[in-house]
Symmetry: C2
Subunit: 439 residues, 2 copies
């Protein structure tokens, strides 16, 4: 059994948090490979070390005195070292950082030092081998991640190392200079490591007990999701849920390795398991609810349009010619609507309308703005009859007008259009009917 | 007040039915213009006069003896004349028909004689002026109906005639030869006459008390529809409800004349009023339910397809290139389904699938056959919240799996996909929840 464990910034923000992470790692011998982020915020209003590094580096590049700012960063690390009662010096590392900053080593280098230093501390604290990500994670000259080279070198290296800490977020270019993944890139590193060692599970430790059924800004304390498939995750992410980056999922998904989102502050909670597929019946019929505001609908009516071969293609060509992608095309009889992102559409509005007129001579053409789309996602919907009935009854009780309904044959999601002003109310109504009444 | 009244074949099948029609016409002085069909079936297993005429004419054209068949037709008319105690001879007319049949005057001529002769009887019975449709209804050389010429000549003629009978179904070509509308064309004649006289109402008398909420072959004794808009009618007709032909609606719709579908056998029933628009609250939330079997769905999945400009257009182009029109395109996240008529699709199936593969390289592509589409139509749905909830709850209670849902911004109809085998059950469930529970 091999587990790769990644800890987020808030899980490693202080010595106290480090100790929690340490207990978690030591609790299972299978937790062999650790990917740490840089120290995050210790309290509201605190600054993440990565942001301190960016700021310090900018000061250095502009030729100003950056010593004080670098000292502040050093203090953050020594506070952790001291709290962990470690006999560890980072003087050599900070001296090098100082030199590199002075010589303009680049903001990628600067940002990466947060993880680098945290990795050194973590390795010392756990008694694991420290492996600098620059030696095992590679980018091509064009800046893209080199998965093949990385996997080859990283897996060979880890085959010889039973317990290791590999800092997240960065790797090296072919010329040896440091390059980072996009922000939140420690998730990607963890996934790459999990793939390289063919881990049984990739544990992603953070500060929430898994993904939530819906946005906590809309529903107070929403329930966590127990198990979610990659596909459901992608659907919720597409509709605005903040979950893992696609790039963080790809390496483990390729290998069929499940991801477990866990809470460092509540290690007994099972968190959310992300899997390729599962026979496990979901706790609720729905897995998640996500949505986005800011859509516009272009409504087209024309007598006998359904029988006109090429009608839909001509309409969509107009959008394509204007570089606008559509989200949904609900249709009735002799009517069709095209849902687009309002921001993409606004400036091209009149061109699109004129284009539709020319292309298909509609009997009637109008537009509606300020619409929101809500996706109710769940593999459980396919086997549970009455899901649609419950959704629409709940929305009716909440006095919400439904502007559009779209459910394809996949039966894994239903898309509902409402006006922007009903968005939050609609999500709460759907959450309540499926989750609250079941609690 | 001017009314045009059209009577269908079953309303004029016998002297007894003629008497009912006569009482109706005489009951209101405003019923000034009468458009009769040919005598229909008097009983189950009876033959319509029009079918007898076609058969007789075919016999004549093939050079066989057709006297006996023509005599049978004559008998039908004399039975009516005798039953009405009229002193009327059709010998001259039948002699001419005999000659024309012998000389091959065409099946259009043959078929038209049913209405022609019935018109003569009706005029004599009512004491109205008989106007041969060949003198007032015109077709162009290409066979298309000449609305302008007809309206000019017909309205001038009727201005001089206060009470008239104009047989339905036929008119004359420029060379004077007879041409008929498509079957059921007496409805068209009635509509043309109503337009020409700018009637206040066009009464279409038939053997049912108006249009029914749904198909009586599926639901026993469905309720009639009190008021329906042209648009609702078109939607139900498109989805398979047998209602008036479009061509029968167009002339009166142009003039804003309402159509009233009435029952000759139950003249006190108000029947169905067909109007352009109405503020009248419908009796039930839904106006009608119609549907068709025999659809196939092509399901396409591709990661990030929603963001790919031109994706939908490329997919639809494949269908267009194969001459297939689509009915609906429900879409989820990164999935889209294309609903087509199975019969159009079957022989081109592999070409279409290959085309989609080439056009958009989907991650996943499959097909489902034997699906049915049901349209729930009603202007009342827009103002009644919870309609969708009631529909889907009813379908869930009936254990019906929903394969697709489509509702655009018009909010006048919801389209539901189910498997062919659930079709009737689904229609009954929807009928019951909206109509039966309200009775």
């Amino acid at each position: 059994m091999k587990k790769v464990v990644k800890f987020g910034g808030s899980s490693l923000a202080s010595a106290e948090q480090f100790q929690k992470a340490g207990s978690i790692i030591r609790a299972e011998k299978s937790r062999k490979y650790v990917v740490p982020s840089a120290p995050g915020k210790r309290f509201d209003g605190d600054t993440k070390v990565t942001d301190m590094l960016y700021d310090c580096y900018e000061t250095a590049v502009s030729g100003q005195d950056f010593e004080q700012k670098l000292d502040k960063i050093k203090e953050r690390y020594y506070e952790i070292i001291k709290g962990l009662h470690l006999d560890l010096s980072l003087e050599k590392e900070f001296a090098q950082i100082h030199d590199y900053f002075k010589n303009g080593a680049g903001s990628n280098y600067a940002a990466s030092r947060g993880e680098y230093l945290n990795g050194i501390i973590m390795a010392a604290y756990l008694g694991f081998t420290f492996i600098d990500a620059a030696e095992v994670i590679f980018f091509r000259e064009d800046g893209s991640f080199d998965a093949d080279k990385t996997d080859k070198i990283l897996s060979a290296r880890l085959k010889k190392t039973e317990y290791a800490v590999i800092p997240g977020f960065y790797g090296a270019m072919t010329n040896g200079s440091i390059r980072t993944f996009s922000r939140g890139g420690s998730d990607i590193t963890g996934s790459i490591v999990a793939r390289a060692v063919k881990a049984d599970i990739y544990e992603n430790w953070t500060d929430v007990s898994g993904f939530l059924v819906t946005d906590p800004h809309i529903v107070e304390n929403p329930e966590p999701i127990e198990t979610i498939t990659y596909r459901e995750l992608r659907e919720l992410a597409y509709m605005g849920a903040s979950v893992l980056h696609d790039e963080a999922i790809f390496p483990v998904r390729c290998e069929g390795i499940p991801i477990n989102i866990r809470n460092t502050n509540d290690p007994s909670a099972p968190g959310t398991m992300i899997v390729e597929s599962t026979c496990k019946k979901p706790k609720y019929t729905i897995t998640g609810i996500a949505g986005k505001k800011g859509f516009a609908a272009i409504n087209i009516e024309k007598d006998r349009m359904n029988s006109e071969v090429g009608f839909g293609r001509k309409v969509l060509s107009v959008f394509e010619d204007n570089g606008i992608s559509f989200e949904h095309i609900p249709s009735g009889i002799d009517t069709m609507s095209v849902f687009v992102h309002q921001s993409d559409f606004e400036e091209k509005e009149q061109k699109v309308l004129a284009g539709i007129h020319r292309a298909v001579s509609p009997d009637y053409l109008d537009m509606e703005a300020d619409l929101a789309l809500i996706a109710v996602v769940g593999r459980g919907m396919k086997s549970t009859r009455g899901t649609a009935g419950r959704i629409f009854s709940a929305l009716a009780h909440a006095n919400i007008n439904i502007r559009m309904i779209d459910q394809g044959s996949s039966e894994l999601n239903i898309i509902i259009g409402v006006s922007n002003s009903d968005f939050e109310k609609a999500i709460r109504a759907i959450y309540d009917i499926f989750v609250t009444v079941r609690l």
